[in-house]
């Protein structure tokens, strides 16, 4: 089953999008999944099972589920036009560490997309750990969700968006 969302948030704006996310239906196996569609983001397992057919395609993306690891894509990051991380539930925070690893440890610079249970109140943190595109849950108003990117102007810690913690970035006042 391929899910396409007409609008997504990308580079701080609502924008049209024509990528589809392949999700395995009941009975599909990674080996048998149909990957012939254009511009699809396939599950990691499908990539791993069908690497021979898929490598060389320029309109290919891959997505990691929250129980998968950024390191599973070691050495292959340049094969994909987009990498997505799935949030099965918004309270499952593993995707944040996956994104952090991809950006900070593995040096991924391409598009990093949050898919699944993606909601306004998590976008700020998602952006901080390295996501630059977001597919808000279909029942939510995407223009409302966009506002979530601007919740804070001050951040204490370093992450993928900011290599230096606040105490190294600014002169802080003393007692």
């Amino acid at each position: 089953m391929i899910i396409r969302n007409v609008s997504i948030i990308k580079n701080h704006a609502v924008t049209n999008d024509d990528w589809g996310v392949l999700r395995l239906a009941e009975g599909d196996t990674p080996e048998s999944a149909d990957v012939t569609a254009q511009k699809i983001i396939v599950p990691l397992k499908v990539w791993q099972a069908q690497r021979n057919q898929l490598q060389g395609r320029t309109d290919l993306g891959v997505w990691l589920d929250s129980d998968e690891r950024a390191e599973d894509l070691q050495g292959e990051l340049d094969r994909f036009a987009v990498i997505a991380v799935n949030f099965p539930k918004f309270a499952d925070g593993r995707g944040y560490s996956i994104a952090y690893h991809l950006r900070v440890r593995m040096g991924y610079v391409g598009e990093l997309r949050a898919i699944g249970d993606v909601l306004r109140d998590q976008l700020f943190y998602m952006q901080r750990v390295g996501f630059d595109s977001f597919v808000p849950r279909a029942d939510k108003d995407i223009n409302e969700a966009l506002k979530g990117l601007n919740d804070f102007s001050v951040i204490y810690q370093a992450s993928a968006d900011e290599a230096q913690p606040l105490f190294r970035r600014v002169q802080r006042s003393v007692a």
């Binding site: 593993r94 109140d121 901080r128 001050v154 810690q157 370093a158 913690p165 105490f167 006042s173």
Partner: protein, 583 residues
Amino acid sequence: MYRYDQFDHQLASERVAQFGDQVRRRLSGELSEDEFRILRLQNGLYHQVHAYMLRAAVPYGLASANQLRKFAQIARKFDRGYAHFTTRQNIQYNWIKLPDTPEILAELASVELHANQTSGSCLRSITSDEFAGVSPDEIVDPRPYAEILRQWTTFHPEFAYLPRKFKIAISGAEEDRAATGVHDIGLNAVKNAQGEVGFRVLVGGGLGRTPVIGSVIAEFVPWQHVITYLESIVRVYNEYGRRDNAYKARIKILVKALGIEEFRRQVEADWQFTKDGPCTVTRQELDRVAVFFDAPAYQQQPASNASVTALQCDNKAFSNWMRRNVKRHKVTGYAIVLLSLKQVGVAPGDVSAEQLDAIADLADRFSFGEVRVTHMQNLVLADVKQSDLIALWQVATAQGLATPNIGLLTDVICCPGSDFCNLANARSIPLAKAIAQRFDDFDYLHDIGDIELNISGCINACGHHHVGHIGILGVDKNGEDRYQVSIGGAQGKAINLGKVIGSSFSAAEIPEVIASLLKVYVRERIEGERFIDTLQRLGIQPFKEYVYRTDTAIAMGLADDAAECVPVQQGTPYNNPHYSRRF
């Protein structure tokens, strides 16, 4: 204490706006309760039995007089004129209306306070030693590190949705007054042979359903690396902690499953990427923060005060108070004073708005305008001149804050229980009250001496029953409140988990069970032994045997030896309806 700069203020006000908007969207229906619940919990807002409960942070237990006045004002305006201090040094309001919460947060922010991460599956507010900076046994003042870590944990983008809550405690003294062994991460500040400061790091401690004492993951992490090292621990936990079962989701379960060696290996492997990187704490930042915790302007004082000594001879109440509620200060002529929030008839940790204002005045008058909250749910005035003790005691007595029971049987740790909490199996506050009434003779209490009685209304162990010398756990048996008793637990450096003595008791039986335990202690103790010492020497068997000697002895209120203890209260106080000012 730490004061906000422009950045802290800006962040605090942005947080107020963010949460206000989340509340607005909940009230308009844009946010479902499932979506909102996790957001409000990260702001310390629970939906409890009667109303919303808001838990505001008292960062590492330190508050100014003005902050206390703000707590009082909030109690009057938005609650029923009282508040409750918790075992994690925070403050709770029990009768909050959801639409009021943004205004309350704005009020808190106006005095540099917040409710960030006081609940939820995230990095929780950090707790520390209530005697930091004033205790003679201190090696390193933990407060600057606690503040640096407070900022690191605040809205950390990667760790807002952990498998479960994550609690950090930090202490820097010989004695561990921050219960670091029962936290997800416990930090003990130490000095190495070269005199450099670092942290002995414990991981995977916790109470709750599966009580575990933390394992040492690192003997010495230099202070510069405290952020990067902790970040690696939390990252490994975020990635590998169980998320399929909330009861097995704490880091202690992961540490047990992997073993401490393998867990350490994974943390060290992650740490290699960040060690010595930009998140390394700079000397400049440590110095900047440490200045806020410089010692106040102590005056030269004589070591003792003649009036205090004289009144101790003349006045038993004052003498009892001096013995129990006044502790030695590192500076000659000063004392540490504990204000007891364990008055008979009042829920442990509860404080009225009037008392909060009075405490603020006491702090301004006698203790450089600062107060600390203890994990035993009492308050501390940390820098009191010996010559001010009498005046302070008089005001504290008038305010019901001078009960001379610190460290005694009636200085119980107690969770709110099923009167307030949705999770609880049984009531705990009325039980604490029944015990306080049963043992209301100070001569007897002082004779029994140091003893820790901890009561939890359910397995989540908010009342720390596992580490009480006597621990009481509420259980629900066929709809009846029952209580399991354990003995031999301890906190501090000698931390230990208690053992259950046998089958559970009814509420009415519990005071008599405690009386039996104490009777064995009084019979068997050797001069100078505390209850826990006698218990450790003899083991639990003699205590257990005596408690269960006959069923009827218990049921009859120990008719055979009741005369030797305090008279048994007539009737069953437990069955009285809600007793406190809460209702």
